[in-house]
Amino acid sequence: MLSRVANALLLIGRSIERAEHVARVVDVTTNLTLDGPVRDPERRWRHVAEICRARADIDEDGIDATFAGTGRYLAVEESNRGSSIACLTTARETARSVRESISSETWEQINRLYWQVTERAPYWSRNPHDFFQSVKTGCHLLHGVIDDTMVHDEGWHFLSLGKMLERLTNTVQLIDLEREYSATDVTEDPGVWAAVLKSCSAFEAYKRGVSSAVTSHDVIKFLMFGTSFPRSSLYCAIQVTEIVRDITLTSGVKGTRDIVLERLSGRVRSTLEFADPDETTVAEGDRFFKTLRRSCHDLEQAIPEAYFLPGHEVRPGFLDIAPQQQQQQQ
């Protein structure tokens, strides 16, 4: 398929996942900071900003580390490229530029979700949980539509790759940052680690599958290494290696770049598969997570090189040439 289109589909997959992730994380934090003043809400909001890659903005632009400040900035601020709403906008605009490569149902659902969320955005704070629910539900619906209405060919693989890659890196980063945050705590706060689970929609699964007691050790283990929980890092890493292999199979060609990708994705997977849980705890996990995050980063960097021509700058749909494009149509 066209390199530009493949890149666009990857971006769409990532944007949707990120929109949902930000919505979930902000939702959980809003909840967490409402009760328990001992939880230092300001520090918590700054922490969330870091999870959502907006820490620098908060610090530099003097945005309040509060629900009304940071919460709003992460939820509905259009100028924040990583906000939930901006991610949906990116997904929609990019989808529009490759509309012929996705099913009509997929386009329609992205379009509807975009309008639903943008129309509600001005009133989001009246019922924030409801707002975030609509983002999450809309994204879930979208995944279902994509899976059920698109042929599972190269295009679908790139959408999935974007989603899984984003989910993988988000989960790893979330846990690592939480470890850092908690490193200075004398005693563990189970409420905070329960919030981590909820940030990954994993609370019930954990309670059912692991134990009723929430400890950082078990939460990390569950979210990093659980193979049957669809949001665990290992699960995502396995998916990524399989998708990379499927893309190679679909194209029928295995070049050096494909081999590089297989190696890098395999490295992430095996780091997780063969990890010693004792080396991943709050206290002991620094080295492990540093290595893991670097491997994830290498993988992310290798993808454009593998699939989209080197030096070929691809910016789907956002080129600066509007005037020429608006030429005569009879």
């Binding site: 066209l2 379009n111 893309i247 494009q325 005569q328």
Partner: protein, 481 residues
């Protein structure tokens, strides 16, 4: 007690009304529709109209109006009262358009080869050679199957007697067919009851007909040609149509940046590497196709594309250089083309046209700016046009200067009393001027899609149907025999 017809207050004015032969008397082929509309109360009609808008909105069938920094997405306005054309009327349009398109194709072929029609003095050579879209560098170049105009949209209008005329031909990048297909789909979803009484000819073979024709013109080296649709990109007002057609035909939608030319062969960049391209359905004007051949500042084209085209390694639909034949001054000679190439009389007449190029016509034009419609020969979208009776003295003065400065590039026509059709408004129905754009495909056979886009001037009293200036569209029903 019989409920009042929703049309009881409808005013046909002095125009030919598509629906009513006289006030209160629907034409035979509209009777069932009028009755069905009568059974719907106004609230229901409005609600279904809203469902239509919502459907278009959800599907993202919008066009974008660009002004300064922002683009505003608007739904292409749609009026749900269908325009109905009975079979016998359509037969005339069908045969008339086929005749016209064949003659136009022969004209283009002639003008880029022996130029017989110019040698015989039927059309002044100067007029052709000074045509803005004439490509002298392609004289002598032979195109696949000698077909130049694979896709044509000709605009038809009716006068106060109901006579059809061809108003203009669009032979470069005619657009709007996707709205025809989308309109039909939405009508079926939202107003299925209206279809019950009629046998409407389907329009859904368009994309399979088109792809078949595109395959037909492919260079001979392969049995499985790669066909793509070349778009200027998402900022183009017709972008929705580009994606729609590409999807319907199952072909890649590409931008200039996706392609490259090497050794006179066109390739598209894919995740597997390069793939050769054989046929390009291009929705980009000649000028922007190739910075090495035409406008060097074009970012939309592919450097080297024209070389590959000349080498016969890639086919283009429509070919380069067709614009000479939809120059409005050349339009005036289409009846002569039909006589010269086919030895036939035109089945559908032209609108009488005065050419700035002809001295006697020029004097007449300048003296009658307040009663004529004056048009620039090579603009589209309803721009570069003066509608005499609706214009101010200042606008007439402006056009006087323009026409006098460049007479070859202006024509004028009498202001036609265009036919009208009821369209829904807040209270009931209002008569709006309409035209009709059927789409014609030229492949091994010439096929005219039954129906086409009925464009409607929705602004009260307006004669301008173009979407960029407040126009909308209706579904067009051609009835089966």
């Amino acid at each position: 007690m019989q409920a009042k017809s929703p049309f009881f207050a409808y005013d046909t004015g002095s125009f030919f009304d598509e629906m009513f032969a006289s006030p209160g008397q629907p034409r035979a082929h509209y009777r069932a529709l009028v009755e069905a509309l009568g059974h719907m109360d106004p609230a229901e009609r409005q609600e279904r109209q809203r469902a239509v808008s919502q459907s278009f909105f959800n599907q993202g069938i919008t066009f974008t109006v660009y002004s300064e920094e922002e683009g505003i997405e608007k739904i292409f306005p749609f009026d749900p009262i269908p325009r109905i054309i009975p079979a016998d009327e359509w037969r005339i349009i069908d045969t008339g358009l086929q005749q016209r398109i064949i003659a136009l194709n022969m004209f283009i072929n002639d003008v880029y080869h022996d130029q017989r029609i110019l040698q015989e003095g039927i059309i002044p050579a100067e007029l052709v050679l000074t045509g803005v879209h004439f490509r002298p560098e392609f004289v002598g170049f032979t195109v696949p199957k000698d077909v130049y105009i694979h896709i044509v949209g000709s605009d038809l209008v009716r006068d106060e007697h109901g006579t059809y005329y061809v108003l203009e031909d669009n032979l470069r990048s005619p657009s709007g067919v996707s709205y025809v297909l989308a309109n039909r789909q939405v009508m079926k979803w939202v107003f299925p009851n209206l279809f019950e009484q009629y046998q409407v000819q389907p329009v859904d073979s368009y994309s399979s007909d088109l792809i078949r024709n595109l395959r037909w013109i492919a260079p001979p080296h392969t049995d499985n040609p790669k066909i793509v649709l070349l778009t200027p990109g998402i900022y183009n007002s017709a972008y929705f149509e580009h994606t729609y057609l590409a999807k319907q035909m199952g072909i890649d939608l590409v931008e200039g940046q996706d392609m490259l030319v090497d050794n006179n062969i066109v390739y598209v960049q894919t995740t597997k590497g390069r793939e050769r391209v054989d046929v390009i359905y291009r929705r980009i004007d000649d000028d922007f196709l190739d910075p090495l051949a035409f406008r060097p500042d074009s970012l939309l084209g592919v450097p080297g594309l024209v070389s590959a085209y000349r080498a016969g390694n890639v086919s283009l639909a429509n070919t380069i250089g067709t614009g000479i034949a939809d120059d409005k001054a050349i339009y005036a000679y289409v009846p002569e083309m039909i006589r010269f190439y086919l030895s036939e009389e035109p089945i559908i007449p032209n609108v009488p046209t005065y050419l700035g190029y002809r001295e006697s016509d020029l004097a007449y034009i300048l003296d009658n700016l307040d009663s004529l419609v004056v048009k620039a020969t090579n603009e589209a979208g309803g721009y570069g046009m003066l509608i005499g009776p609706h214009s101010t003295k200042a606008q007439q003065m402006e056009f006087r200067h323009k026409v006098a400065a460049d007479p070859r590039n202006y024509i004028a026509q009498p202001t036609l009393s265009l036919s009208r059709h009821p369209a829904m408004d807040e209270d009931g129905f209002r008569g709006c001027h309409v035209d009709l754009r059927p789409y014609v495909l030229y492949g091994e056979k010439v096929t005219v899609m039954p129906g086409g886009l009925t464009r409607v001037a929705l602004r009260a009293g307006s004669l301008v149907v173009n979407s960029s200036q407040g126009g909308g569209s209706k579904d067009t029903w051609v009835l089966a025999e």
